[in-house]
């Protein structure tokens, strides 16, 4: 069984600053490292992707993935920070974690983030929607 320290050891070169709380591990990483870390978490450690959260701060957009290691109750949360607010893009992890398909589609339509390499980048909630929802969860909507 791989525990938190082994994970940190293996991924030392790939991840940035770490917030370590009781049972939750939040860490920043660059977009290029996301696939590798996700593969390690999902395939090697057998984590389950709970969900992903996108959010907007004054500095940019963030995508925060929540991987749950069910055997220990530990959460691993890789965070990707996107500074380009106009054309945000992140690498999709759906090819690695099939369960990420819906949440990535949802983030794409509610936040306007493009997920590169997503197998079915269709809208999730607003297909056949009569109105136009323009990234409703963003703080300041772009014109």
């Amino acid at each position: 069984m791989v525990d938190k320290n082994q994970f940190l050891e293996a991924m030392r070169n790939r991840i940035g600053s770490i917030i370590d709380k009781k049972g939750r591990l939040y860490f920043e990483l660059a977009d290029e490292q996301l696939s590798e870390v996700a593969r390690y978490l999902f395939r090697t450690m057998g984590c389950r992707l709970s969900t992903a959260t996108a959010m907007e701060t004054y500095h940019g957009l963030e995508v925060l993935y929540h991987f749950s290691h069910d055997a220990t109750g530990q959460y691993y949360c890789p965070r990707v920070i996107i500074t380009d607010k106009n054309a945000p893009r992140v690498t999709s992890i759906t090819p690695i974690v099939p369960g990420a398909e819906w949440i990535e589609r949802e983030m794409a339509e509610l936040w306007g983030i493009r997920f590169e390499g997503h197998p079915g980048p269709e809208k999730l909630l607003t297909r056949r929607h009569p109105g136009r929802l323009d990234r409703p969860l963003r703080l300041r909507r772009q014109p």
Binding site: R128, H129, P130, G131, P136
Partner: protein, 139 residues
């Protein structure tokens, strides 16, 4: 029409329209059919096709995506048809008033004849509402 209205009052067939509710009114509506409340004793029956409905039970705030379908369902129902709004959502919008995806004027989508407020209304309150509808029909 008096005689016909009495027949209608004794045989209200209900079609359940869920317009983005929180599910709670919906299960309470189903609860009405089950042994403790059993509205079949008033001749009320839940039907699966809107073509056979006399009463449309609308639950939930109507969101923008479902609104055209609700409108179409209302148009498909054979007249005479009554619309009952179940719960606080069709009445006032509940806590979802601020959302970006809600139809602001619900009565433009579907004209509601009778509101049963409550979040969710107790099954007794729903029976009360339906009994009042029957009372109106009987004149």
């Amino acid at each position: 029409m008096g005689w016909y209205n009495k027949r209608l009052a004794k045989s209200l067939w209900v079609f359940h329209v869920s317009a983005s509710p929180c599910n709670n009114c919906d299960i309470e509506i189903l609860d009405l059919l089950t042994p403790r409340f059993d509205v079949e004793r008033f001749g009320i029956k839940l039907v699966g096709s809107v073509r056979q409905a006399d009463v449309l039970l609308v639950s939930g705030v109507i969101n923008q995506k479902v609104a055209p379908y609700i409108r179409r369902l209302y148009e498909q129902a054979p007249r005479p048809v009554f619309v009952v709004g179940v719960g606080t959502c069709p009445t006032s919008g509940c806590c979802f008033k601020e959302s970006y995806n809600i139809v602001p004027r619900r009565e433009e989508i579907i004209p509601i004849d009778l509101y049963i407020p409550g979040c969710p209304p107790k099954p007794e309150a729903m029976i009360d509402g339906i009994v009042r509808l029957i009372g109106v029909l009987r004149g």
